[in-house]
């Protein structure tokens, strides 16, 4: 079994304040892991840290370099570009050409020439998720991927994830919706909430 991500004793901070600490898990290829936890606990921060957008306070994130692709709350779409152009752009950035599979998977073919600004919220999200397929990367790090998707679209997404896992990919996501992915492991991050430090500890980090 190949390791996709290995996180050991990770602490992350949002706005200079530690929110989660002591998180360890491993994600093998072909596996999915769903992060659960109440709002504001730091799931987004954790995912951004794993994606390499921000440095951890302590601990390590190990992953094959250039294997992670991140998708956040926003889809990074340009309203004036068409669906095709948006997707083509991301495919080119990641050095790929073929986007037909992604278009088909998320049923975007009929929308191909529509400017992204004229899509509904759910359609935009589908386009955002289709971006994952054209990157050709193995590890998906997804933050609330199913927001504003209807039931059919959620099924589409679940199908895409399953196919991705089947090809040796892996997925790490924060979501509250039951995707119907029985094989996905669940990690509740609530117990890892950072404890407030002692106020007397007047140290280099001021707390």
């Amino acid at each position: 079994m190949v390791m996709a991500i290995s996180v050991s004793d990770l602490s992350v901070a949002r706005g200079g304040i530690k929110v989660l600490e002591g998180i360890s898990f491993t994600l093998a290829s072909g596996q999915a892991l769903v992060l659960r936890g109440p709002n504001g606990i730091g799931k987004t921060t954790l995912l951004r840290t794993i994606a390499g957008l921000q440095p951890p306070i302590s601990g390590k994130v190990e992953a094959t370099p250039e294997s992670i692709v991140y998708a956040g709350h926003t889809d990074g779409l340009k309203a004036t570009l068409s669906v095709l152009e948006n997707l083509n752009f991301w495919a080119q950035v990641f050095g790929n050409k073929d986007i037909s599979g992604a278009m088909k998977q998320y049923e975007l073919t009929t929308l191909a020439d529509r400017p992204a600004g004229a899509l509904s919220a759910g359609q935009k999200r589908r386009l955002g998720l289709a971006r994952l397929l054209v990157t050709g990367r193995l590890v998906w790090v997804l933050d609330e991927p199913t927001v504003s998707l209807d039931r059919d679209a959620v099924a589409m997404f679940a199908g895409a994830v399953r196919a991705h896992l089947g090809q040796g990919g892996s997925a790490l996501m924060a979501t509250h919706i039951d995707l119907g992915l029985d094989e996905a492991a669940i990690l509740d991050v609530a117990p890892y909430r950072a404890k407030a430090p002692e106020p007397d500890d007047f140290d280099g980090v001021f707390l």
Partner: protein, 52 residues
């Protein structure tokens, strides 16, 4: 005791006045802020210790 400043008295005196006002202003602002922040911190610290 005032030295003879001649025709440039206004110039010299205004230069000294402006500079001294600015320096004293800076010192005063720094001191006041130092005092304010110090007392605020003490308050917050009391509260923090009280809670935890």
């Amino acid at each position: 005791m005032m030295p003879e400043l001649g025709k440039y008295a206004d110039t010299v005196l205004s230069a000294y006045a402006v500079s001294i006002v600015l320096i004293l202003g800076l010192v005063l602002v720094s001191l006041l802020r130092a005092k304010k922040v110090k007392s605020q911190l003490q308050e917050v610290e009391m509260k923090a210790k009280g809670n935890g």
